[in-house]
């Protein structure tokens, strides 16, 4: 593919390292093999007692221990981190090493940035609840009950701690990563719900293109597998409730889909300016070629019924990449397994891609590792990069019953060898956030 004119001489951005912590494991190739095999990371929820919740299962990261990734000394320094920050540090450590930056001494650290789509840390649940319950005055407000703020302050001051409160802030993963890797450049965290890490990587690429950084640690991290996270999604009726068959509960694009499966984890990528990477002899895994971002401006709960925002994000990403729809070899769908998302995402692809919509393979790895919320886009982009490397597409598992509203090729149940030079990855978030990235083989 020729260099597009649309980049106007902007600097090119490549991916030189990847790392992830997922419900299917942590090493790059091990998780990839499991995805190609169609394994499921879903099981009954063990992180808290969800046995009476409408949804009793999730896709959890099991046996996570930060020491395995950072060593005892560094892990001790970061010992107070919340779960999502731990995931981010571990994934960043693997990505940093994958990029060869652990063995490179010539880095200008003021030109190394961070741009994460990092979620908030889980609330200090037991202590938070204890204070709230202790301060509830049933007799107040004419028997309706009210919070006794004095009592709450007394109990909360005793039970909550400064460190656990601070570590919940969504910018803390970036703060810890900066210290772990000695990074001094621009640092951002975005939290645009389920689109966050795709948006983060897109904006990170913009930082490098413009020259605000040469290297950016980007991606996302999140864990909402906690009582309030599950409560929030259950109240929205967004989660699958197939409690008797959780392994096959995540069914993107299948007619029997009934919601997404909550997952957790992190995906971190090292983005680098192409010449910077070449000068230090780094292996370039692929190029970040296009980015599009839009807002539906429609409703906080529903996607625009015409797929307006998703179409615009994909179209802008194609324009940014200087590519046509027929140049795209694979679409990594947002594909959550909710009735609305999968229908409208399919519609958007059909409207934008025309005839090619029926030829381009589309899949959703959320069928296997659930929905990592803010981290989902980063993990999915890493699978696109591996698909390009190995010329093989991960499947959409649990796909049995076609849906007339989703009439495209979703790579059902079996991984598929295919020539893959260009992948498009979608992430859509509550409130009408639409973000699309395009990655290509480096030519």
């Amino acid at each position: 593919m020729a260099r597009p004119d649309s980049t106007n001489g902007n600097r090119r951005v490549v991916v030189t390292g990847c790392g992830w912590i997922t419900p299917l494991g942590d090493d790059l190739d091990g998780v990839w093999k499991r995805l190609l095999r169609g394994d499921s990371g879903v099981s009954p929820t063990e992180l808290f007692d969800a046995s009476t919740f409408p949804t009793t299962f999730s896709a959890q990261v099991k046996g996570f221990d930060l020491r395995r990734y950072l060593g005892d000394e560094a892990a001790a320094r970061h010992r107070d981190v919340s779960r999502n920050t731990g995931f981010a540090l571990a994934a960043a450590q693997m990505a940093w090493k994958d990029a060869g930056l652990d063995a490179f001494s010539g880095l200008d650290r003021t030109a190394v940035g961070i741009y994460l789509g990092g979620g908030e840390g889980p609330i200090d649940f037991d202590n938070f609840v204890a204070a709230a319950v202790a301060a509830w005055d049933r007799q107040a407000a004419g028997g309706r009950g009210d919070l006794d703020a004095r009592r709450w302050a007394e109990v909360a001051e005793q039970r909550l701690t400064a460190v656990r409160e601070l570590e919940q802030d969504p910018n803390m993963a970036a703060g810890h990563i900066a210290c772990q890797f000695g990074v001094e450049g621009p640092a951002f965290n975005t939290l645009t719900a389920c689109a966050a890490s795709t948006q983060a990587i897109g904006e990170a690429a913009c930082l490098i293109r413009r020259g605000d950084a040469d290297v950016v640690i980007s991606g996302g991290t999140h864990s909402m597998i906690h009582p309030f996270g599950t409560t929030g999604f259950n109240r929205l009726t967004a989660l699958s409730t197939r409690n008797d068959s959780c392994l096959t509960a995540s069914r993107p694009f299948d007619r029997t889909r009934d919601g997404f499966v909550l997952g957790e984890g992190a995906g971190i990528l090292i983005l680098e300016e192409l010449e910077h990477a070449r000068r230090r002899g780094a292996r370039c895994r692929c190029e970040i070629r296009g980015y599009g971002s839009t807002a539906d401006a429609f409703r906080i709960t529903d996607i625009h019924e015409d797929g307006r925002g998703g179409i615009a994000a994909m179209r802008l990403a194609l324009e940014d990449a200087g590519l046509r729809p027929q140049d795209i070899d694979y679409i990594s769908a947002h594909g959550t397994g909710t009735e609305e998302n999968d229908k409208i995402e399919s519609l958007a692809i059909m409207k934008l891609f025309g005839e090619h919509a029926y030829k381009v393979p589309i899949s959703s790895i959320k069928s296997m590792m659930g929905h990592l919320i803010a981290a989902a886009g980063a993990v999915e982009l890493i699978t696109c990069i591996l698909a390009i490397r190995d010329n093989i597409l991960p499947p959409t598992t649990n796909y049995q019953t076609p849906d007339p509203n989703c009439p495209l090729d979703y790579v059902p149940n079996q991984a598929r060898p295919a020539r893959v030079d260009a992948c498009l990855s979608n992430s859509f978030g509550f409130g009408g956030q639409n973000d699309t990235l395009i990655v290509t083989r480096i030519t």
């Binding site: 001489g9 003021t110 007394e154 900066a178 210290c179 904006e203 409130g431």
Partner: protein, 445 residues
């Protein structure tokens, strides 16, 4: 590379000293304070009992009639952002969906909605404690202890189905995109107190590279709830000497400073491509010419003693603007009144600006408005735009004995006329390590 110039064409504010640019500006000139004993809840058992409260704000006043029912799912932070967006769009003369549907202007829009972006800094929004506590208390066992099985089975049903959406940080920008029909990139920066500057910086880049023509950008947050106040108390950031004198409690860069006060508030700027602004005859407050960001590689919870990350952000912003330290005519500081944070900030400014740091007038407004987290920087930036526009610097409230160790020239007492061609505004996360600086200039005609 695209090099479109970006100007400020609107200012929207919702703060404890007023709603709207004119009201806030007048309060600042008169040295008024919006800090008082907290009335939103009973603060008696908190160590610091004062804060900056906005009076009489409800989002229903700032949206089209058909959207009023959506205000039920807006946390206070969202309401503040929605108010600021209305004020900003109106101030800029933008005929947005909101203003058209409210009958305040005739359609059609005087811009392309697919080219209007939003970038709003937001905090970690606390769930409504009263709503949540009531629901949790309904799931206790006979001994009065919370029982998660009861919660899962029935207790959670006491929460409204849309409960989660009240507190997602991106809902500030999402409601704003819907209310004003903004379909270009919409981002939500969550880097605590650095959020607004990062959001405005990113919006500057977004317009500059051509991904949008106009952006509503800034931030909003309310820390004025029991959890917000408790977090700051636990982190040791609050003054405890000012409960009897709320208006004097927060003293940025003053020798007697001993902590900050919480607040609620925010602001949105309208940034616009210069040619687009000229074509529609918009009033221009000034130009955004520089942005720099950095982070602290030494600590995620303490300020850098020499202010090194902040100095780097300022240097980058000045270089981006093509300016030297000697060109700076005003510094709008972040000054929270927290002893070590103010000292670090001053050290960073001295490191970046050299001798100029001690000569150039500086402004610190948190003595009047308190610290509203992710919304704070946007208030500073909006005020900076107003300083540029009026060629005037309002006084920094409560700086009565400037700390000589800080070495800054804070304007105090009353307003000062000034020739301001270029100003630098800074912000940093009190925890997390992110720093950012922006340069605004008077538009050369």
């Amino acid at each position: 590379m695209s090099t479109r110039r970006v100007v400020i064409t609107g200012v929207g504010l919702a703060t404890p000293i007023g709603i709207g640019a004119g009201a806030v500006w007048n309060s600042l000139l008169e040295n008024r304070s919006g800090v008082r004993r907290i009335s939103a809840f009973d603060p008696e058992r908190f160590r610091c009992q004062v804060g900056g409260e906005i009076e009489g704000l409800s989002a229903g006043q700032y949206v089209p009639k058909a959207y009023r029912k959506s205000t039920k799912v807006m946390a206070r932070d969202i309401e503040i952002a929605v108010a600021a967006a209305y004020e900003a769009a109106r101030d800029a003369g933008l005929k947005t969906r909101c203003l058209i549907e409210r009958g305040e202007t005739e359609g059609p829009p005087n811009f392309d909605p697919t080219r209007l972006g939003v970038n709003i800094g937001a905090g970690l929004i606390c769930a409504d404690l009263t709503e949540l506590a009531g629901a949790l208390a309904a799931s206790t066992d006979e001994a009065g202890r919370f029982d998660i099985r009861r919660w899962g089975a029935e207790g959670m049903n006491n929460l409204t189905p849309l409960w989660l959406l009240k507190f997602l940080p991106n809902m500030l920008s999402c409601h704003v995109t819907i209310v004003h029909d903004a379909q270009a990139p919409s981002n939500t920066i969550t880097c605590s107190e650095a959020s607004s500057h990062l959001a405005v910086g990113e919006a500057f880049r977004t317009i500059s590279r051509g991904a949008a023509d106009i952006c509503l950008c800034g931030g909003a947050e309310s820390k004025l709830n029991p959890m917000g106040l408790m977090r700051q108390q636990l982190l040791g950031r609050l003054t405890t000497s000012g409960n009897d004198r709320p208006q004097d409690a927060c003293r940025p860069f003053d020798a007697a400073r001993d902590g900050t006060v919480i607040g609620e508030g925010g602001g949105l700027l309208v940034l616009e491509d210069l040619e687009h602004a000229r074509a529609r005859g918009a009033r221009i407050y000034g130009e955004v010419t520089g942005f720099g960001a950095s982070c602290n590689a030494c600590s995620w919870h303490e300020p850098h003693p020499e202010g090194r990350p902040l100095a780097l952000a300022v240097r980058k912003a000045l270089a981006d603007a093509g300016l030297q330290p000697g060109d700076v005519d005003l510094i709008t500081t972040f000054g929270t009144g927290i002893p070590a944070q103010d000292a670090s900030e001053a050290a960073g400014l001295r490191a970046a600006l050299g001798d100029r740091a001690a000569e150039v007038p500086a402004l610190a407004i948190k003595g009047a408005v308190g610290n509203s987290g992710a919304g704070s920087g946007a208030i500073d930036l909006a005020v900076a735009a107003l300083c540029l526009h009026h060629q005037m610097i309002p006084p920094s409230r409560n700086v009565t004995r400037p700390d000589p160790a800080c070495g800054l020239q804070l304007v105090a007492g009353g307003p000062r006329k000034a020739e301001i061609d270029a100003l630098v505004s800074v912000a940093y996360a009190l925890g997390g390590g992110q720093n950012a600086a922006l340069v605004f200039r008077r538009l050369e005609v």
